[in-house]
């Protein structure tokens, strides 16, 4: 059978793939195809044999599930989400205010140190008293 355009070939390949994935016989598709279409159908058969589902390690699956479904049936994320919205907002505002306060405190201390260093007087030079006796000697 000759397929006049891409749409026909696409329809053939799609039907063949559906049959493959449903574990149905695909002989009829192969018999009716020639040339490039036949090559593509054979390639699809090879893919179907080579690309198979891979099972994860069951210990990994169980351990990961335990992270979501703990013994107390609540993860941290879900516990957070279970809190009423107004409490969550209050917690966020409180946390933000605390962070801002700490930042302000630390900033002021740092600024104080810098300005303190700048305004500190230079060490006093030795003062030589100029008395008439000094001048003479």
């Amino acid at each position: 059978m000759n397929y006049e355009n891409d749409l026909e070939v696409e329809a053939l390949l799609a039907a063949h793939l559906n049959a493959l994935l449903a574990s149905e016989r695909t002989d009829s598709y192969l018999k009716g195809a020639t040339g490039e279409e036949l090559e593509l159908l054979h390639l699809a058969n090879r893919l179907n044999r080579s690309l198979m589902s891979v099972e994860p390690n069951m210990e990994f699956v169980a351990a990961l599930k335990a992270q979501f479904v703990g013994t107390d049936q609540k993860t941290l994320v879900l516990r957070w989400k279970a809190i009423p919205a107004r409490y969550r907002l209050a917690a966020r505002l409180g946390g933000g205010a605390l962070t801002a306060g700490l930042a302000l405190f630390a900033g002021r201390r740092a600024l104080g140190r810098i300005t303190g260093q700048r305004s500190r007087p230079e060490p006093a030079a030795a003062v030589v008293e100029t008395t008439p006796s000094n001048l003479l000697s």
Partner: protein
């Protein structure tokens, strides 16, 4: 509501319950963890990274499950999209792509109901899998969603944000590209497998 009742619910119902109940999320996890792992395994080529990324997919899903409802796509498609994005980031973070070790595929078990498997040599299968991994990302994704995950064109379209017609067209073009790649490399000597190296040693 007990776990047995959860197993009878649709994904969309479980998602709503999962907003505040980890057992409902656990049911969704049970339904999809193997599929997501399998998809990621083929995209990364090793079990360690597949486990790491699978873990991240479900953590991200848990954190963002409330935003899922607005998207209007099946929950499974949403999970695959998360997986796809994480795998894409994973590839971006790495300059080289690892080759899927053939032994791991054998360990995963061949399909008992496919006698043709025995007739196809290991090297032929290895060559085909390597050719798949040389395809552009979206074409690899399509082949895995169809052949490994066995999803319908509608589901694949939802995951890849394409129409069913576009999925069919992409499948056609992917097979053509794969055939071209295999033909071009046919003359090259086949790579030796891990098993072959061990036997030869």
């Amino acid at each position: 509501m007990g776990k047995k009742a959860y197993s009878e619910l649709e994904d969309s119902e479980l998602v709503i319950i999962a907003h505040g109940d980890s057992a409902a999320f656990g049911e969704l996890y049970e339904r999809y963890v193997k599929k997501i792992y399998s998809y990621i395994y083929y995209r990364t080529g090793n079990a360690h990274d597949a486990e790491d990324l699978t873990s991240r997919v479900f953590h991200r899903a848990l954190v963002h499950i409330e935003t899922y409802v607005e998207r209007g796509i099946p929950f499974s498609a949403w999970l695959y999209r998360i997986a796809h994005n994480l795998v894409a980031n994973w590839h971006r973070d790495r300059t080289r792509r690892k080759i899927i070790p053939l032994d791991e595929f054998i360990a995963a078990g061949l399909r008992a109901d496919a006698p043709e498997v025995a007739s196809e040599s290991e090297e032929e299968r290895q060559r085909l899998l390597e050719a798949v991994r040389r395809l552009p990302e979206e074409r690899q994704q399509l082949l895995l969603l169809k052949f490994v995950e066995k999803l319908s064109n509608a589901d694949v379209g939802a995951i890849m944000d394409r129409s069913e017609g576009a999925v069919k067209s992409l499948y056609h073009r992917t097979l053509l590209a794969l055939r071209e790649d295999l033909t071009a490399r046919q003359a090259e000597p086949a790579p030796r497998t891990e098993r072959g190296r061990r036997q030869g040693a």
